[in-house]
Symmetry: C2
Subunit: 473 residues, 2 copies
């Protein structure tokens, strides 16, 4: 098995090595595209199941809209087309003929969906319309990276027409994303809103959750947009309210993508390979019976089967009793693949009616009695989930700095890097300058921003609270 580059040697190669060794994905022979292999797709299925449940529990339904968007639709919302058209793939031929109107492969579906909503929404009785779709989208990317930025990616995109203003819905979804990131991905995030410069093309306001990766860069893990009445106006979608008046419909859109798998990897994995939080690990426990000779083999295989009786409903597990691989090789393989707990079962363990649990996150070995082992495993899974979150939070907090001096900022953003709480006057000029001079961007204006008088890091003009700046993916 090939070696994984150390994070300290080359972070970017480490990331790719972790993915390739765990067989999560592979480069496709199509520019900028990836193949999500079964080990990676199984994580996406876990993510989908949890999020889909959360969306449905809040009244959202799934639907499916076309992959292709006529060019004329793209052009109806001015900011939107300006933001997306340059990165679109365009179909010009179909069925052997040149098309009369080119079709854009959806980079996001606001325009095609709002064209349909025009037919579906007439009266206040048709509201709220709360729809989500799981789909593939395409954005032509120059510099791609597995999971984090690929020309085609998988995502969910919610497009809703709430009963009244969209603010509550947009915030509700962001809270779902925050909960999912922290409680399932074990990834601490800063929820907040984007600056005018960084918001979604066509939105009134964009909410975001921002996470810190192990190279101290920020990763935008999910966004939720209050679109105001911009798309309703562009597509002329009105409804008759309870007083008989025609009103434009309010809108939100929101999405998370397979990028979350990249975030998971970069938050928890180590120099041995993938580390997964138990709640999203497709395989939570692997049991490796250890034997010498054929007689022991049969006995140990049998013991592993007996030990795991009744586990099915509590954990997902697998017995690795392959005969053509040695225990050490197996240990290494399952570590590389991020299985949270390994159970070792050898002849001496049998004699002592015990087994050894090995934590993937810390490497700690715990000898436990075979009686009550399932309870121990469940507790340990909970503990791993919790401690991964705590470890990531500590890492983030240790690399979050309050800075008021631009020279200090410029130095620290390079080394060690991290999140910087800075004062900013609110002007586009200072925001642009920050990015040009330091490659850092304002990631968000956090919800928990405290009122604090200060001076803009760049121009010295007054500021009333700190924003979060960082280099980002």
């Amino acid at each position: 098995m090939a070696r994984i580059t150390k994070r300290s040697e080359d972070y970017s190669r480490w990331y790719t090595d972790v993915i390739m060794q765990a067989q999560l994905a592979d480069y496709a022979p199509v520019k900028g595209c990836m193949v999500i292999r079964p080990n990676g797709y199984a994580i996406w299925e876990k993510i989908q199941r949890v999020l889909d449940g959360m969306f449905k529990a809040t009244g959202h339904e799934n639907a499916y809209f076309p992959l292709f968007i006529p060019e004329s639709f793209m052009k109806k919302e001015a900011e939107h087309v300006e933001g997306f058209a340059p990165e679109c793939a365009v179909v010009t031929h179909g069925g052997g003929k040149k098309l009369e109107e080119p079709l854009y492969v959806r980079p996001t579906s606001e325009t095609i969906i709002w064209a349909m909503y025009k037919d579906w929404i007439q009266s206040y009785r048709d509201l709220p319309l709360l729809i989500n779709q799981w789909a593939n989208v395409v954005r032509w990317e120059m510099r791609t990276r597995l999971f984090l930025r690929t020309t085609e990616f998988l995502w969910q995109e919610g497009h809703t027409a709430p009963e009244a203003e969209a603010e509550e819905e947009a915030r509700k979804i962001l809270e779902i994303y925050r909960t999912f990131a922290e409680e399932y991905m074990a990834m601490p995030v800063i929820p907040g809103y984007k600056t005018e410069k960084e918001k979604f093309a066509g939105a009134v306001r964009t909410y975001t959750i921002e996470a810190m990766m192990q190279d101290r860069r920020a990763l935008q893990a999910g966004t939720s947009h209050n679109l105001g009445q911009n798309f309703a106006k562009a597509f002329d979608v009105t409804y008759q309210d309870e007083n008989g008046e025609q009103q434009y419909v309010w809108a939100t859109s929101w999405g998370v993508s397979t990028r979350l798998i990249g975030a998971l990897i970069m938050t928890h994995s180590d120099d041995q390979g993938l580390v997964l939080p138990p709640k999203l690990a497709p395989l939570q426990v692997v049991v490796v019976p250890i034997w010498r000779g054929d007689e022991e083999m049969e006995r140990l295989k049998q013991a592993a089967r007996e030990l795991t009786k009744g586990w099915d409903e509590a954990v997902t597990f697998k017995i690795d009793d392959r005969e053509n691989y040695r225990p050490g090789w197996k240990f290494n393989e399952w570590e590389t693949r991020g299985v949270p707990i390994r159970v070792e079962l050898g002849p001496r363990d049998l004699e002592n009616n015990q087994a050894v649990l090995v934590r993937r996150d810390t490497g700690e070995k715990i000898t436990v009695s075979q009686e009550g082992i399932l309870e121990e495993i469940k507790k340990l899974l909970d503990d791993i989930q919790r401690s991964l979150f705590e470890r990531a939070r500590k890492y983030r907090d240790d690399h979050t700095f309050v800075v008021d001096d631009y020279e200090e900022f410029k130095k620290k953003i390079e080394e060690p890097g991290g999140f910087f709480k800075i004062h900013w006057c609110g002007s586009r000029e200072c925001e642009d300058r920050l990015q040009e001079e330091t490659k850092a961007t304002i990631r968000c204006i956090p919800f928990d921003q405290e009122p604090e008088e200060g001076k803009c890091l760049l121009c010295g003009k007054p500021s009333h609270g700190r924003v979060v700046a960082a280099k980002a993916y």
Copy 2:
């Protein structure tokens, strides 16, 4: 609410009316494309969940491959490109520039997947490789119909490299499709294999399940292909066997699509609208409390809530206690949407400690005691599932004819139409002539074909068993 055209008046309009009234789908403003609305997508989710479980139980894993296929890949398997290239959508521009090589939007993914398998398969230890993907595909269609034939559709496509010859795997999957069609969709099918003319472009053999719709046309509901070594040779995919010899890899591919929703509609629905088999109905039971006046309303709403306590784990249900609609309007709406059982609960029912169950499939009303009502409902759902299947089987059998005279065939294929068991010599000439002269095609050579000496319906040459011919979707 608009009226549904009767089947006897205009079958094709009836079909569209059923879909529009049940809000399963809508026409998209993109040529040949459809929007799958929440009511329709919920059926697809049920289909996905069941089939996905069956695939996984037989060792298959999900993955995801790119939407785009380079033109050069399409051209590697000669029959395949000839079959698919004319109906492809082609991306010629990306990121504002003309591409060096055009990209085909996948019409099916054999070529891109086998290009990857070349890297993934080296040795017999890498086999079997059993992968499925849930994805959208595009085939440029001239004449489209909601669900049955659309330019873009959703499907699953399995692509496997079995350990040895692919025949067993291809047949195993067809059996999964047959089981799903009959036990979940309550749709009887004829399993068999396709003629050389009708098989998949690039396959050695294509297996199929064929169902009869209510207009007596055949619908191909799922296919499974033994691809032999054709794609392995085209993409040069070999493995070292246990004796150290290089061998070409064997292959299968197989798929079912959102077309199944069209099949479901055309098999069971009636002039009142959608009829769904309970196992695939997103909503199985709707409870409608009936009241006059505010005091009764509160009492009945409360009674409905009490009646349904504990139902959650056994059935999916909803209480329709909307105040701005009358009971008759609600009955009609839920019938149109195909909910298998309606429970009516009025003041007199309360007095008598009873409720009325109404079957969607037959309209039959059954008064039951409130004690044990959930057991009654579960039994009734089973009974509806079974009797929908029996009704469909009887319909098919009543419209299946053994015919040996070509003039009789030509008459009956027009009226009443149906499945025709005919002798055929096996030649392409007679198969082509049959289609030209009658628009019927040979749907399949059924597995249960009995040896029987006869003469070809067209040329009179010897035949050794009957095939199934029909007009088809």
